[in-house]
């Protein structure tokens, strides 16, 4: 967005004005180096906080949900990684899809995904969520959750052992570190 549009600012409506002004501010911050300086301080702190307090959604679909429950139990203890399962999608970071997705569930799952606020990640756990799994010829199973939701981490297994699930989440933590989101939550 360019400053040359400034005289026309009076004629813009609310939405256009918001877009134009945030574009201008973004360019100014980048060009003057303020964004880089702020990011240098905040990226380590923000990304440490994001990756050590992953709040998954309390959502179990099928067999892999029992392994998810076992992972949060005493022997495998997911809480030492900072996981706290939340029941409301508005308070979650991660949508953990663990089980086969049917055509009846697909619109509801998409709605849950859209109700989660940014930043959010999706983890596909188990063969059924990755690609339909053993139900390759079913008329009611969606062949993979990545056909309608963008997935960040795939955890293979049928069902994956709880250690495999925790390993997948450690990979998610590495991914969050590599994404390097700072105060501005974008690159």
């Amino acid at each position: 967005m360019d400053l040359s549009l400034a005289p026309n600012a009076i004629a813009m409506n609310a939405k256009e004005f918001m877009e134009w002004s945030s574009g201008v501010i973004d360019e100014v911050l980048r060009a003057s180096g303020i964004k880089k300086a702020v990011d240098k301080i905040t990226v380590p702190i923000w990304s440490w906080a994001l990756r050590n307090s992953i709040f998954p959604l309390h959502f179990g679909i099928a067999c892999c949900a029992l392994e998810m429950a076992a992972a949060s139990a005493a022997r495998f203890d997911a809480e030492r990684f900072g996981f706290v399962y939340r029941s409301s999608p508005r308070q979650c970071d991660v949508l953990l899809v663990n089980g086969w997705v049917t055509t009846k569930l697909r619109p509801d799952l998409r709605r849950l995904y859209e109700q989660m606020p940014e930043p959010k990640w999706v983890v596909a756990m188990g063969e059924c969520a990755i690609s339909g799994g053993p139900w390759y010829d079913s008329y009611n199973v969606v062949q993979g959750v990545d056909t309608f939701i963008p997935v960040d981490i795939y955890i293979p297994g049928c069902p994956p052992r709880p250690e495999a699930m925790l390993d997948g989440f450690m990979m998610l933590q590495d991914k969050i570190r590599a994404e390097a989101k700072g105060l501005f939550l974008e690159d």
């Binding site: 055509t103 009846k104 390759y136 010829d137 079913s138 008329y139 009611n140």
Partner: protein, 156 residues
């Protein structure tokens, strides 16, 4: 009934004899093993036979109700069990494909309710006098009867 052991009743042969005495045609019945009776019944007689089983021969529990698509006709298979007599009767009813309709046994045993709904949804067999014959498992706007043999899955 509460807190009591149900009284041990008739043996399988006695049950078969009682059925044969009350229903002379439309019913072919016989013992096929310990605690197992098998019957082939015409669809006009099914409801009366089930009424008799429930009231006179103490068959209290419907275990299962399924449909079968044998391409030129369909079948409905009932498994009704008796706790008092300790046996299970398997009733097979032939149903023509162009008029797939049978009397519902839900008025007798509530346990058949969802089984009949599911059979209707997957095969298209209608059950007369069923309280609520609607879609149960599949999405409400699904148009096909998936378990019929003409519905092919991918991979076949």
């Amino acid at each position: 009934m509460q807190g009591e052991m149900p009284t041990v009743g008739l043996s399988e042969e006695a049950v078969v004899e009682a059925i044969k005495k009350s229903f002379t045609d439309g019913v072919t019945v016989g013992v096929v093993g310990p605690r197992r009776i098998s019957a082939r019944v015409a669809r006009s007689v099914v409801y009366k036979l089930c009424e008799h089983l429930k009231s006179a021969l103490s068959f209290e529990h419907v275990s299962c109700l399924s449909g079968v698509d044998k391409v030129d006709h369909m079948e409905v298979v009932y498994h009704i069990s008796s706790y008092a007599n300790e046996c299970v009767i398997e009733i097979t009813v032939d149903v023509p494909s162009d008029d797939p309709e049978v009397d519902s046994i839900t008025p007798l045993w509530g346990g058949a309710n969802w089984h009949e709904r599911e059979t209707h949804e997957l095969f298209g067999i209608r059950f007369k006098n069923h309280p609520k014959l609607e879609r149960l498992l599949l999405p409400f706007d699904y148009e096909y009867f998936p378990f019929r043999k003409e519905f092919k899955l991918r991979g076949r």
